[in-house]
Symmetry: C2
Subunit: 262 residues, 2 copies
């Protein structure tokens, strides 16, 4: 068997500590191509750059990446990175796509806004086994001060080896979130919690006298008593794994919706 080809991206950009830690964690188990945004693309979701051209360039060497890694930075979104890698950069079909480690969680409904997970969905649409990884930092916590622990990184390496060997079900990818913790307590496979963001805007008058709004917000877990959700796993100190499908059809209500068309 050839050495596995692993494509790595993120939405925090190539300089982020999370993607560098992730790259080091899997550098020994594959040929690594990192194709990541040139800077922060937080909240990019599955956005594509539809109206502007995108550029990318190879970075021959970088002090924070292992020497054997093929490293590229791209002007576009995380999804653009995967599409560019697929069509123009990778020498063959990758055996695994990793996105992250995001500086901040992507649990519950945040899966929809996440550029980290956008790249993962794009990989899944291309039939690449694809995994997003995110760290659940509290507001004000920085990744650099609460990095993912060494044994957590070792658990990531093992999980990646299993996914390379066994693959993932068709149209399914993984949304993984880690709690801030000194040691790795274990995995919990779970479902996406129901949640709601509220109080989402802070405003200020800008220097031109115009009121301007910054996104902020308070996340509310709508199922705080549930034990089978991603947030329940995180609260209990476990790493959550939500298998996510790119088929968004609500199959169970097809008949019910049919009645609306009378």
């Amino acid at each position: 068997m050839n050495t596995p080809l692993i494509l790595i991206t993120n939405d925090d950009g190539i300089q982020a500590a999370g993607i560098q830690a992730l790259t080091r964690a899997v550098a020994a188990i594959g040929d690594i191509y990192v194709v990541a945004p040139s800077g922060a693309r937080s909240g990019a979701a599955c956005a594509i750059t539809a109206t502007m051209p995108v550029t990318y360039r190879e970075i021959p060497c970088h002090p924070d990446y292992p020497a054997q890694v093929h490293l590229f930075e791209c002007s576009g979104t995380p999804v653009d990175c995967v599409k560019l890698a697929w069509d123009n950069i990778l020498p063959r079909t990758p055996d695994l796509l990793l996105s992250g480690i995001n500086h901040g969680d992507n649990a519950s409904i945040s899966v929809h806004y996440s550029g980290t997970m956008g790249a993962v969905f794009e990989g899944c649409m291309k039939d690449i086994p694809s995994i997003g990884l995110s760290l659940y930092l509290q507001r004000g916590q920085r990744y650099e001060e609460h990095p993912v622990s060494a044994d957590t990184l070792a658990a990531i390496t093992r999980l990646c080896q299993h996914v390379i060997e066994r693959g993932l079900p068709q149209d399914v990818c993984l949304n993984i979130n880690f709690p801030v913790a000194e040691t790795f307590r274990g995995w919990q496979v779970c479902r996406q919690a129901r949640g709601r963001w509220t109080a989402e805007w802070a405003s200020a008058t800008n220097p031109h006298g115009l009121k301007a709004y910054w996104l902020t917000g308070q996340f509310n877990d709508l199922e705080p008593e549930a034990t089978d959700t991603d947030f329940a796993a995180l609260r209990a100190g476990y790493a959550s794994i939500v298998p996510v499908t790119i088929d968004m059809t609500a199959h169970s209500v097809l008949q019910q919706i049919n009645e609306l068309t009378d």
Copy 2:
């Protein structure tokens, strides 16, 4: 019962013919608030503006909108529009959110890239009955030359009335696509087709000698023989309705994924 409150947005911007036609189609059945991007945001998906401030302004009158409509344009993404409307603009909880009519389809996996549907997901996360509407134009076709027909608009009005009266299931919204057609043939409730975009980049050397890439691509329906998908409905001349869930959990494979964590 109060007059229903209807929030309308899109990803083509407030000047687009599609949102103007949609607004006229429902102006008689509700109090209408249009809060839409100031220009094109195609491919914005669920992107939020995370690093920059967002602004909006009311437009007191506009020749292409009915006089009684409350009209706002926003510098942000479609999701930003819904969040701003919710927190800062609307006088009460809306009874219906409409997004579109998009100039181009959002069937199959394009649901993931769609700014039109991004706004719909945001509405659904806020428990607003939410519907995205898109017109399946072939490459080179323009909405203005192939507008949605008058009887299609009448069917939209009827469907909106039903949804206002009966609501939608929890965490479910609708992704509707219309074929280009002289008359309305009917609705088909269906599932999202499996599909794949290929050959996604066109390149050219820019004036600075740098190779630049524009997104393009060829869509391939991976289930051309299926009769229960959105593309099958469109090919047969029907308007497709896919009920879409914001719970992306692949519930049927939870146990299978558990085996990866040994």
